[in-house]
């Protein structure tokens, strides 16, 4: 009798502990997803009106469209390119900060410097590329002045290149932070022990630093991949409308009141992302990083 009472009290305390998180997650995460999921099965009159129904028509539409595959390929291309560049830059910036800046205060200062781009809005950050990459931008003018080109390069702005540049600019910090975090936990004595064993700089990076930063790399990868795959704005602005991503397609759908198709696309993209993230989590044990 008494034990069941204490048990229920412990239960109540447990529920109280999780309640703040539940209060945030249910209305702002679970409910919207359920709405989208429900909408994806609804029928539409073609003018924005939804009739509660259970039809797979929207899914069939999306999966049968040749455009879907093209959009996924384009999105994957942006994702992979952005991932590679943010990973390389992020890894080396973190490596430099952790292993080459001896003064801790300076390291923290430089680390904060990495966040400077975030002091201004996303849109400003993208627009600021125009004077650099534009037809009459700095790069073209410089190349023209040096006589290396005769015509301004058009590929610099409003192109896939510009899209990737903007993504890398925006997202490298999401690689730096988790990689920095896991690298900073590597005991400097391990590096010394490796030097003592005769390891070169490259050996140390390959055999010690990279394997021990794996969880940071995985976390950064999850950030970058999910942001790029869920974005349409950068593609729209930086490609000048020339390229599209999966999300831009259902943005268009919403624009023409095709809510169920948009919802079905969204559900499919979510599933694809869940698959990618769980694949990453299977390869690298991130819990180890969080609980360490």
């Amino acid at each position: 009798m008494q034990s069941s009472q204490t048990l229920s009290r412990a239960n109540l305390a447990g529920w109280l502990y999780v309640s703040p998180l539940v209060l945030v997650l249910v209305p702002f995460f679970v409910a919207p997803i359920l709405v989208v999921l429900a909408a994806s099965f609804f029928a539409t009159d073609g003018f924005g009106g939804l009739t509660p129904d259970f039809t797979l028509a929207s899914y069939i539409d999306v999966l049968h469209s040749a455009l879907t595959l093209k959009l996924y390929l384009a999105t994957i291309k942006f994702t992979v390119l952005t991932w590679i560049f943010t990973l390389i830059i992020g890894f080396f910036v973190a490596y430099f900060l952790v292993f080459h800046v001896r003064n801790q205060l300076l390291a923290i200062g430089l680390f904060l410097l990495c966040t400077v781009p975030f002091w201004t809005s996303n849109i400003i950050r993208m627009i600021s590329w125009i004077p650099l990459l534009g037809k009459e931008g700095l790069i073209n003018q410089a190349l023209l002045a040096l006589g290396m080109i005769r015509q301004p390069l058009e590929v610099l702005l409003f192109s896939d290149l510009a899209v990737v540049i903007a993504y890398v600019h925006q997202l490298t910090i999401f690689m730096i932070v988790p990689i920095f975090n896991s690298m900073a936990r590597i005991d400097k004595k391990l590096i010394e022990a490796a030097i003592d064993a005769g390891a070169s700089r490259f050996d140390i990076m390959r055999l010690i630093v990279v394997p021990m930063s794996k969880s940071g790399i995985a976390l950064g990868t999850i950030f970058v991949v999910s942001i790029v795959m869920g974005d349409f704005f950068v593609v729209k602005v930086m490609s000048g409308g020339g390229s599209a991503s999966v999300v831009s397609a259902f943005y268009e759908d919403v624009g023409v009141l095709q809510y169920p198709t948009a919802a079905a696309s969204a559900v499919l993209l979510t599933l694809a992302l869940v698959a990618i993230v769980s694949l990453i989590l299977r390869t690298v044990d991130i819990r180890q990083e969080i609980t360490r």
């Binding site: 391990l190 050996d203 055999l207």
Partner: protein
């Protein structure tokens, strides 16, 4: 051709990190090939810095470090053919025991089959065969220590440097691993340099004990020499086992002198090891704690004892095979007698008893 000898010579070695104070201050030392050498001193005395300079992880600000006849300053650890065993071991947490031990061979470009064979042989030597595929976190402290030792020894270095290798272990294991270190050293036949702050560890292991204070060597010699014949007050107090008394010289007569003390006639001290003493000098002397005998007032002093200091018993600690009796013999310093257990309990003292502390006159040792 490279020398295989592991004899080390430090000549005027200094190290300063800030350009103002020398952490290591003009150290000169010779260590024979195949010796077991212990550096001992309180934390911050520069012993670890010396070790790291010999290892090549730190460059001396001045002076030469010669290993096997070759000045190694500026050379990488691999070129010096030294290997270091780090404090708290610094095992690679993501590699198995076998991979940890084979690491040095891997970065030297040895083929996988060869290096794993060599690692397995070494694993057998440190008796870890059944743990070869475990990660360091799955091993006990003693096992981790053996992995660290094996990892350092696999490159067949001519000098093995150990930075407080036993400090992470509990008391019992420490004694056991101490023997294992000594066994490995004899088996490998190479020079071991071991840094510690535990006196017992140093005198139990070392052929050469080096006592340090504030970047300088206070005394270097065989364990027994350093323990039984400390050079000065610092060494005597640091190594322990000695009572240090100081006083002014009252008179000098031939082979001995008399030190003014609480005793009515002063203390008679033989003049070995300290040739020049003149009246009025302030002199420290050391008397081994196990040389001190305690006699009840009025009883006869044991043969050979001419000095006796009246004292009161302050505290008594039972230590097993002896009893530690703390006395108020000298006003400011501790004065302790280690009385054999059987002797003590034949006529036990209690706290507050008045006794005479005495010792064979010849056993007192004047300090520098």
């Amino acid at each position: 051709m490279k020398s295989d000898r592991g004899d080390i010579e430090l000549a005027g070695v200094c190290k300063s990190f800030d350009g103002v104070t020398n952490v290591v201050d003009g150290v000169n030392l010779k260590i024979a090939d195949g010796a077991y050498c212990c550096f001992i001193g309180p934390s911050g005395c520069g012993k670890t810095t010396i070790l790291r300079m010999i290892a090549g992880h730190e460059d001396p600000s001045a002076g030469e470090i010669v290993i096997g006849g070759q000045n190694v300053v500026g050379l990488a650890p691999v070129q010096r053919r030294t290997a270091m065993m780090f404090q708290s071991y610094a095992l690679f947490p993501h590699l198995t025991v076998r991979e940890n031990i084979a690491f040095a061979l891997r970065v030297r470009g040895m083929s996988k089959a060869d290096r794993l064979r060599a690692a397995d042989a070494m694993i057998e030597k440190v008796r870890l065969t059944q743990f070869a595929d475990r990660l360091p976190a799955q091993l006990s402290g003693g096992q981790q220590q053996r992995v660290a030792l094996a990892r350092a020894a696999i490159t067949e270095p001519r000098v093995l440097l150990l930075d407080e290798p036993l400090s992470a272990l509990d008391e019992q294991l420490r004694v056991q691993m101490r023997q294992e270190l000594r066994r490995m050293q004899q088996e490998l036949g190479i020079t071991f340099i071991h840094v510690t702050h535990t006196q017992l560890e140093a005198i139990a292991l070392a052929d050469l004990v080096v006592v340090m204070e504030q970047g300088k060597i206070k005394q270097a010699g065989a364990a027994r020499d350093v323990y039984a014949h400390p050079h000065d007050r610092y060494v005597a107090e640091f190594m322990g086992g000695q009572n240090v008394l100081s006083g002014r010289v009252e008179k000098v007569n031939g082979s001995s002198f008399t030190l003014a003390q609480a005793a009515p006639d002063g203390i008679e001290v033989p003049l070995q090891r300290r040739p020049s003493v003149s009246v009025g000098d302030k002199v420290d002397i050391a008397v081994r704690r196990d040389d001190v005998a305690l006699v009840r007032p009025g009883r006869e002093l044991p043969p050979g004892c001419t000095n006796s200091l009246p004292s009161r018993v302050l505290a008594i600690e039972y230590q097993g095979y002896f009893v530690k009796v703390m006395l108020d013999t000298v006003p400011d310093d501790a004065f302790v007698a280690y009385v054999p257990e059987k002797t003590f309990f034949a006529d036990p003292f209690t706290v507050g008893d008045v006794v005479l502390a005495t010792w064979a006159t010849g056993s007192a040792l004047p300090l520098a």
